[in-house]
């Protein structure tokens, strides 16, 4: 699946995410897939988030409903930092009195919203739509989570400072071991450089890529005080 998404000609974020949406609808038998970027301000307030990619204009329209109505499963998934899986919107009128009728009118009956996040570093949401009531199998859930992780990885690399190498196609966190150290180092870099938690991990990944090290090794060096990442010379994120 990684190869399907990463393997095409485009190497920058949006086209790769569009391909990810296409893979998602095919693999998961959905009618629509949308990748939105959000910040807490977007999700709680007046501004709308940015729809970065969608499988179709129709799918994009369904997610725009959430931003115009100020409620919906994607926003809740983002704010709650966990998936919001709704197999049947007909039974969710109480939760989203505005969104549900609008989504049903747009031909969506089930929605599955997965937040793109790494702990407290939140990026946005992968949102899947289905025209009929639908329960996800364990296999569907694993596939959705994997695609969400991949989307997070693609979005994360857009946070790497300009001029740095973008670590194209390096898995999000590397091998499974020492992940706690990676998360701890991420918090440290956030404070040390005064950058967002998202940017902190992007910097660590870029450093690992440029110095040809595993991310876990970079994290261990940061925790031990052996490596100090420098502030971005351009001063821009």
């Amino acid at each position: 699946m990684r190869a399907l998404v990463r393997g095409g000609p485009a190497t920058v974020g949006a086209p790769m995410l569009t391909r990810l949406c296409e893979v998602a609808i095919r693999e998961l038998r959905m009618s629509g897939a949308v990748v939105s970027l959000m910040t807490p301000v977007h999700a709680t307030g007046d501004q709308s988030g940015t729809i970065m990619a969608a499988s179709s204009d129709r799918a994009r329209g369904v997610d725009e409903l959430e931003f115009s109505l100020g409620e919906g499963p994607g926003r809740d998934a983002f704010l709650g930092s966990r998936p919001v899986l709704t197999p049947d919107l007909e039974r969710a009128f109480d939760r989203w009195p505005g969104y549900v009728p609008a989504a049903l009118a747009a031909g969506v009956r089930a929605t599955f919203a997965f937040p793109m996040l790494i702990g407290a570093a939140r990026f946005g949401v992968v949102h899947l739509h289905c025209p009929g009531a639908r329960t996800l199998t364990d296999h569907d859930i694993a596939t959705s989570l994997m695609l969400t992780e991949l989307a997070t990885e693609i979005v994360l690399d857009t946070y790497a400072p300009a001029g740095d190498h973008t670590p194209a196609d390096v898995p999000l966190l590397g091998p499974d071991d020492h992940r706690d150290e990676i998360y701890q180092a991420q918090g440290m870099v956030m404070v040390a450089l005064g950058v967002s938690l998202r940017e902190a991990l992007a910097r660590m990944r870029a450093h690992a890529f440029a110095s040809n090290q595993e991310l876990a090794a970079v994290a261990a060096d940061i925790l031990a005080g052996r490596t100090r990442l420098e502030p971005d010379p351009d001063g821009a994120p």
């Binding site: 966990r82 702990g119 407290a120 694993a142 701890q184 938690l197």
Partner: protein, 231 residues
């Protein structure tokens, strides 16, 4: 042999936890401490599935417990992984005779001073969501009654994690599990941030976060989140 008095204390504490604002990280940590204490084991650890076929370390009663859980994950081998894969408990496994079964894990556990190991599945109907591991000495072997009690403890952990008491759908399980896994990552990130802010170790930072949560009667994960939002 399991102490009934300690069991009653534990269930009182679990009941308290479930009515109060629920803190998944603190709860699982306490549960591993109790599981070790009650069973006479020296260390306990707990892992949860990320639903992509991988297990994630969640809590341990002490640093040896943590070391052995992470060691199993790094080497893709050990009683917790077996238990998660088969859904069956591993009881009274003798580490001295387990080199065939766990060629890297068994010697490491012996090196840390353990002789026996047990693992109990965390089951929710057809789903296995994780496993509880116990490490002990040879004279801490479990009898049938002990096995029932420790399995009950693993079941309690499962019920507590699945906060919505009547989980009927796989979707609800995913919502709860992914939320629990995220909570743990948030706490780790906050440990790093606090360590950098104060010039202290991450262990000291964790103690500070826990104290702050207790004194303000907030959940550890909320205190951790607040630290990261400020930063």
């Amino acid at each position: 042999m399991i102490s009934t008095e300690r069991i009653s204390d534990l269930f009182v504490e679990v009941a308290d936890t479930l009515v109060d604002e629920f803190d998944v990280i603190d709860f699982l940590h306490n549960l591993t401490v109790h599981a070790a204490g009650i069973s006479g084991a020296d260390a306990a650890g707990l892992m949860l599935t990320d639903q992509m076929g991988r297990l994630r370390f969640m809590a341990a009663s002490n640093s040896n417990g943590e070391t052995l859980e992470l060691f199993q994950l790094q080497n893709s081998e050990g009683p917790c992984l077996d238990c998660f894969t088969t859904g069956e408990p591993v009881v009274n496994a003798d580490l001295a005779h387990a080199a065939d079964r766990w060629p890297t894990f068994a010697p490491r556990a012996i090196q840390l001073g353990y002789q026996s190991v047990h693992a109990f599945p965390m089951r929710l109907r057809e789903h296995i969501i994780g496993a509880l591991n116990l490490f002990g000495s040879a004279d801490a072997l479990f009898d049938a009654a002990d096995v029932r009690v420790v399995q009950a403890l693993a079941d309690v952990a499962t019920i507590a994690l699945m906060q919505e008491r009547t989980i009927r759908r796989a979707e609800e399980l995913t919502e709860q599990l992914q939320g629990a896994l995220t909570s743990r990552v948030v706490v780790e990130q906050a440990k790093g941030a606090v360590a950098a802010l104060r010039g202290i170790t991450t262990d000291e930072a964790f103690e500070l976060l826990r104290r702050r949560a207790r004194s303000s009667q907030k959940r550890l994960v909320d205190v951790a989140q607040a630290v990261l939002d400020e930063g």
